[in-house]
Symmetry: C2
């Protein structure tokens, strides 16, 4: 089959690789219907994270189950399934605590799993899924083609935006600021709205993303950044800041922006992969601003969000503003890197 391999900075290639095979009774082989490029894929693509050896890449996919192991009981051949951006058994103590990204037996796509060896990257034609029962969620029926992008967001960005909102404690009446206008930040707006936020400020300078933010439920747009951004946010919210801030970038600047935008006693829900180095505790301590979040346990959110995606009550698939065949995966990365696209959907 064909799958994407990253070789180094700005060098991703679609190559022939061995087809995956069932290696444990708990496995499934899934034929990928749609995959995509994640903002976090850009860290190695840009060379911010070095690529020591060529390796498979991609961690978001939906597809059709082609084969299952003898022990698989919750999904069957032919099911359309959503995979989270990691695999998990959904039974260990961490999974039971709602933190399936810390599954004691789980792993990451495109690397050796704790169960049965290599688990394929998602930007390819097929994936071996260890812990198929724990990881995969089947849709109640075969989705329409138009539903596929929304379902694909449940693999990562919609669940991750939701995790930011949940971690920030968004509830009925909360005032919210979203730092980051990438796919996760935009999905965070959807999440904040459906959790009952009374006012949602999107921090964005990009007119197209501002438009999506408004569609998703943002009530205000703030273009300023740094001290001017903080001043504008405090002006909007009683001079003190917002109850909840969703940090969806991961740089030092975005984290500082988020912390300073929260009101005393407020909470920052952060999901941006931290690339900014250590942070000062004093600005948190002196104003009782909390910091909560991390790598999102999206598997646990699928059941809650799936019906709303299928019904169209929420439309996170809107973040895909470019669709390419898998053969053009290199162009997909370039379009994301150059911010020509919010998020690129790939069809094998």
């Amino acid at each position: 089959m064909r799958a994407t391999v990253i070789y180094g900075e700005r060098d991703v290639r679609l190559e022939e690789v061995p087809d995956p095979i069932l290696s444990t009774g708990g496995d499934a082989i899934v034929r990928v219907v749609a995959a995509c490029v994640c903002g976090s894929d850009l860290w190695p693509y840009r060379g911010v994270q070095p690529t020591d050896e060529p390796h498979r890449i991609g961690h978001e996919f939906v597809g059709i189950v082609e084969e299952i192991g003898a022990d698989v009981s919750t999904i069957k051949v032919g099911d359309f399934v959503i995979a989270p951006f990691y695999d998990c058994d959904n039974t260990c103590v961490n999974c039971r605590n709602g933190v399936s990204t810390s599954c004691l037996n789980g792993g990451w796509w495109g690397s050796d799993d704790k169960l049965g060896g290599f688990a394929d990257g998602a930007q390819g034609e097929k994936v071996r899924v260890p812990h198929a029962d724990g990881s995969l969620v089947a849709t109640p029926a075969q989705p329409t083609d138009a539903q596929v992008p929304g379902l694909l967001t449940l693999a990562d960005v919609m669940g991750t935006g939701h995790h930011a909102a949940v971690s920030a404690g968004v509830t009925t009446g909360s005032t919210v600021v979203v730092v980051g206008d990438g796919a996760v930040g935009l999905c965070g707006i959807i999440a904040a709205k459906r959790l009952g936020a009374s006012r949602i400020v999107a921090m964005s300078r990009n007119p197209e993303r501002q438009a999506v933010a408004r569609e998703f439920g943002a009530t205000d747009i703030v273009e300023e950044r740094g001290d001017a951004g903080v001043a504008r946010i405090r002006e909007i919210f009683d001079g003190i800041g917002a109850d909840c801030v969703l940090e969806c970038v991961g740089t030092k600047e975005s984290m500082e922006q988020a912390i300073a935008s929260a009101r005393p006693g407020g909470m920052v829900g952060y999901v941006g992969v931290p690339t900014g180095g250590p942070i000062e505790v004093r600005p948190l301590f002196s104003r009782n601003v909390g910091l909560n979040g991390g790598v999102a346990s999206v598997r646990g959110y699928v059941e809650e969000l799936l019906p709303e995606v299928l019904s169209g009550a929420i439309n996170p698939g809107r973040v895909f503003d470019l669709e390419l065949p898998l053969s053009e995966v290199a162009e997909a990365y370039a379009a994301m890197d150059e911010r020509r696209a919010i998020k690129v959907l790939l069809r094998p």
Copy 2:
């Protein structure tokens, strides 16, 4: 009157200073019945925080109201009152949000207040209290002498330990680790127990403090620190760590200990004044460990905790293991500094 002045490293002196006078209609003058030395007073005493100019010190006191301004309505002359370690109007937006340490109009003992000028330090004979209605809570009756130490803990350490527990989300059945065996950490044990914790580990190497920890509700003692401490904590809690960790020290080592002791998805409630510099975000992000807390809004906790102190249901006054006349304030600091006492009560 006499009041304590800090001059520099290991140099505190009791001196004659002007008596406080009412300077606004919202003021009260309180005659101090008991004050004490705080762990945070040791930072300037040890020279960790430089003292550029001699200044008044002390921020915990209880006493009798001697005079009130014309606008004071909730307390009266002769009342026995508890003061939080700061003053606040208890009406501004931050106070209404439960974060009275960020009161828009409040201030700190021993410095110029936003209302009416200088507010005295607590380690003295009298204190001018701005925002008397917002800051002071009167006891329903004159307390017995034996009740005074417990009431004094509501000015800071009991409320601060409670804030650590609340910030860490301690609730019925929570597993808890307390980092720090000072007065605040010990009060954190009381707080965790009364909030329903099922198991409470106190990290302490000191036999006397271990005994108090047990009295207060600790079910386990861990003497190890660093990696060995983390290994021991994880061994106790399913191999993963505790639901809630109370960080009651403020050093880099204690914060790292606290973060590593929380289970994936757990929460660190921290109240130790941060002296350890910046912290890494990755260890929080990768395991979804949250960080919540800060300078405790103890004013808001007095009504909840006061009845239990008066009834003896909780006995936080037990943290005072040395009582000295105010004239021996220098010895009080030395005893705390040398860890000869957990906490020293001073009587003017």
